[in-house]
């Protein structure tokens, strides 16, 4: 057997309160695509950040071509030919593509012309269609990712680490990325692909390292395994998929939310929302698919009241709520799980109980003459902790100290109680592990059964197909059409997500 390109031997990393990595050992061969599979918090990113020099290992060592190497900062890693593309890109938006790529790698006077031509050549070599003099801020995320890759190639990276690279891409863009990965590794280079998506792993990887709770729980060749086995290794148990029935009332149910001609447009700018119309019936899950940043968040916020539409109407149970404030709409029974729970959903330094009353600090639900009814609040929070299986020491635990999945459950518990009529979920399972996703899906389906109307925004197609009764695809602030979920498939939806309109088989939307 050949000497592995890189070898990680017994690496451990401790953070305060968590063991991020314990005794991790595996190797990366030349010309290999290695998938690093695991749930959030399994330690995938941490071990790769150690290899890239962003973190220091507390124990263990790293070998390159059989010799031990010390990697203390990304610069060391780059010298050894390691490049890492972070989940959040590290590009300077105000600079051009060329400037971004040469950043940190040129000294003294910059020969712009030469750099420029180098970039063009480089992009052509790999068949990347990247405008090298465009500003990064003007590029789509998919192209920005290519810029990141070019940056790595410019440094002659021989090991490319990609952290959840497909999270921001359309299915078609993902396809292009996979092709690049194949052609890149054919030249003898290696790729580490960090992901929690089983499908991708089976598609692209030669070998799979499965991680769970900071340890390696499996090291398998793709040919020798299947999705079921991987999922078991990843979670440690079998998952029971929640069952979806045909819905309590189907087409005859009462319309709960009605949105007509909703538009948000600032003067001189492209509209954020363009003439959106749809309705949601009681007991229906209405899905919105699309690459994130195409107006989904604006749509949610227009319905919850924090963004004012420039045209159009929103009504709830026949009552026009377009002019109501956020607080009044909460009072009408609209619950909202925002996409960014850190920014919009929770107050991290506060306790779980305090977060439970965030939406209803006015009025008498939690208060007596302005004084907080701590007893009632704690009792309700304790009940939510039990009902939703939130892993928290108690109502007085700091919300910021919980794991992402448990934080999301706290928000969901609150919004289910607030949203007695309508529940708006913007990517409710983003970044969560399979166990938590399963939990959340079960809750949402139960709420559907109870007759609530649910608006589900998601970038995960599997989630959209699994949960929704009807699906709208959003692109640049417009709906590309509304479909029954059985009318669509991955390919069709992918084209719509990329903005290719097709013959609309008008359905569902009377």
């Amino acid at each position: 057997m050949q000497v592995p390109f890189f070898e990680i031997q017994g690496v451990s990393k401790y953070f305060a309160k968590v063991i991020a990595n314990k005794d991790i050992s595996f190797s990366i061969q030349k010309g290999e695509v290695l998938a690093l599979l695991g749930e959030n918090g399994a330690g995938k990113s941490t071990i790769m950040k150690i290899l890239y020099g962003l973190y220091r290992a507390d124990e263990g060592k790293i070998l390159m071509d059989g010799k031990e190497v010390k990697i203390t900062c990304p610069k060391d890693a780059m010298k050894l030919g390691i490049s890492m593309i972070q989940q959040h890109f590290s590009l300077v938006p105000a600079h051009t593509v060329t400037e971004n790529i040469i950043l940190g790698n040129v000294k003294g006077r910059i020969d712009h012309k030469k750099c420029h031509e180098d970039m063009k050549k480089l992009a052509d070599t790999y068949g990347f269609d990247v405008p090298v003099d465009a500003k990064v801020s003007e590029l789509d995320v998919g192209v920005q990712q290519k810029v990141e890759i070019l940056k790595a190639l410019y440094l002659n990276a021989r090991l490319l680490i990609m952290d959840e690279p497909t999270a921001v891409l359309t299915p078609q863009e993902s396809e292009t990325l996979m092709q690049f990965v194949k052609s890149y590794t054919e030249k003898g280079n290696s790729v580490v692909f960090i992901t929690h998506k089983l499908k991708e792993v089976m598609e692209v990887a030669d070998r799979i390292i499965v991680m769970r709770n900071g340890r390696v729980s499996g090291n398998l060749k793709k040919e020798d395994t299947n999705e079921t086995e991987l999922s078991r290794l990843m979670i440690g148990k079998d998952l029971v998929q929640p069952e979806k029935d045909s819905g309590p009332m189907g087409d005859k149910a009462k319309v709960c939310l009605k949105v007509e001609g909703l538009t948000i447009e600032k003067k001189g700018e492209a509209p954020l929302l363009r003439d959106i119309s749809f309705n949601i019936r009681e007991g229906e899950i209405f899905g919105i698919a699309g690459v994130s940043g195409n107006g989904q968040e604006e749509l949610c916020e227009a319905i919850t009241g924090s963004l004012k539409p420039t045209a159009g109407h929103i009504s709830l149970n026949g009552e026009d709520i377009t002019g109501l404030t956020v607080r009044e709409r909460i009072g009408k029974g609209i619950g909202y799980v925002p996409v960014d729970r850190h920014r919009d959903g929770m107050v991290m330094p506060m306790t779980v109980a305090e977060n439970m009353m965030l939406k209803e600090s006015f009025g008498s639900k939690w208060a007596n003459h302005g004084f907080i009814d701590k007893k009632k609040l704690n009792a309700c929070t304790q009940k939510a902790i039990e009902d939703y299986q939130i892993k928290a020491p108690g109502p007085d635990a700091r919300a910021g100290g919980l794991s992402g999945g448990n934080q999301q459950k706290v928000i969901l518990a609150r919004e289910v109680s607030v949203g007695s009529e309508l529940l708006i979920l913007n990517q409710p399972t983003r970044g969560l592990d399979l166990g938590a996703i399963n939990n959340i899906h079960t809750v949402v389906l139960e709420e559907r059964k109870a007759g609530k109307s649910i608006l589900l925004v998601s970038t995960e197609l599997s989630e959209i197909f699994e949960m929704c009764d009807r699906i709208a695809v959003m692109y640049k602030g417009s709906f590309m059409g509304i479909y029954r979920s059985e009318e669509l498939n991955t390919e069709k939806i992918g084209l719509l997500m990329a903005g290719y309109a097709q013959e609309k088989e008008a359905a569902g939307n009377e």
Binding site: Y14, T325, E328, I330, R343, K359, S361, G370, F371, K374
Partner: protein, 358 residues
């Protein structure tokens, strides 16, 4: 790590920080060829045995509690009111003007009650103005509040030369108010007045307001995460104005206790450092209202010790030793804050490593 451990850590590190501050101050004294042990010993001895001096410690702590609360209150809303000095001046102006007007006209309790309300509102309005500028025009509250102090100070100086000028017309200061308008003495034989009790009650009140009421809840929520609060129907701009009003009002009340309780008149360059000291105390107490009471007493004590040392015959200890001691203590307390976080982090890591190895 539970809360008990944290409290223990807090008390130990703060105690060490104070000790370190005093030791460093002692070293400074040694540079002046003064034996710090005898000097500190004497000063402490006097402080703890002399009723009058002890009373002065609490007397000095009183306005500091108010200005520290003022800073802490907006700090909880993630806002910075560093204009407590100006709000205190505004309170002082209103206190002296109202007291002079009503002196001998209305009975003492009524007068004091009216004055305390007026100072509260006066300081509060200055605060609310800052909050309004922040909310309406997105002005930087840090700068606006800082500059507001100079504006109020200029106003005070103007008034001291015109409408509030003493009858003699000699110095830029007001007439003294009569005993009728004084805050009654708390302990006979000392200068300590009921204003100290008021300060402690207000601190407890602020604590209740922040942690037990929905208004306080909203202020803290907006402070920690304005975006999430907005999405939850809380108008963060309104909260800014309210928080700044209360903050300014608290600082304004220091004007009441200082005028009616201690100075009994308004003079130029009156108590120039209680705003900045209050800021330091609030940080020292981690913006906790109850902690502020103790931190203020500590600062009062340091001030008194420094004064005692300055007055020691034949030693010529510069009076700036007060600032030096307070500064050193403050630095160490701030360092201890980071030390605590680092220690807690390391302990957790160790514990974890042990658990794994078992």
């Amino acid at each position: 790590m539970n809360d008990k451990d944290k409290l223990k850590d807090l008390i130990i590190t703060n105690f060490l920080a104070i000790a370190a501050g005093l030791i460093l101050s002692g070293l400074m004294l040694m540079l002046l060829h003064i034996n710090p042990f005898t000097v500190f010993g004497d000063a402490l001895h006097t402080m703890f045995t002399d009723k009058y001096t002890m009373g002065d410690v609490l007397l000095k702590a009183t306005p500091l509690i108010f200005t520290a609360l003022a800073f802490a209150f907006t700090f909880k809303a993630n806002l910075f009111n560093i204009g407590a000095q100006g709000q205190f001046y505004m309170g002082a102006i209103v206190a002296i003007a109202a007291s002079l007007k009503m002196d001998g006209v209305v009975p003492t309790p009524v007068l004091l009650l009216i004055v305390v309300v007026l100072t509260f509102v006066a300081g509060g309005l200055i605060g609310a103005l800052i909050g309004f500028l922040k909310a309406r025009y997105n002005a930087n509250e840090f700068l606006v509040s800082m500059m507001s102090t100079y504006v109020v100070q200029a106003l005070m100086n103007y008034l001291l030369r015109t409408f509030l000028l003493e009858t003699k017309g000699e110095y830029p200061q007001t007439d003294a108010i009569s005993r009728e308008a004084w805050i009654p003495t708390l302990i006979p034989g000392t200068r300590l007045h009921w204003g100290f009790v008021l300060a402690v009650l207000v601190a407890v009140g602020v604590w209740i307001l922040l942690y037990k009421t929905t208004l306080g809840y909203r202020i803290r929520a907006v402070g920690s995460n304005a975006s999430a609060s907005e999405k939850s129907g809380i108008k963060s701009k309104k909260v800014f104005v309210i928080a700044f009003f209360i903050s300014g009002a608290l600082a304004g009340m220091a004007g009441f206790t200082e005028i009616n309780g201690v100075q009994h008149m308004l003079i130029q360059d009156f108590n120039t450092s209680i705003g900045s000291s209050g800021l330091g105390i609030a940080i020292l107490a981690n913006a906790n209202p109850i902690g502020i009471i103790f931190a203020s007493i500590l600062f009062g004590a340091l001030g008194v010790i420094g004064n005692l040392m300055g007055r020691m015959p034949g030693l010529n200890i510069p009076s700036s030793i007060v600032d030096l001691m307070q500064g050193f203590v403050m630095i160490f307390v701030i360092v201890s804050y980071f030390l605590r976080a680092w220690m807690a982090n390391r302990r957790e890591k160790r514990r974890l490593q042990k658990v794994v190895e078992k």
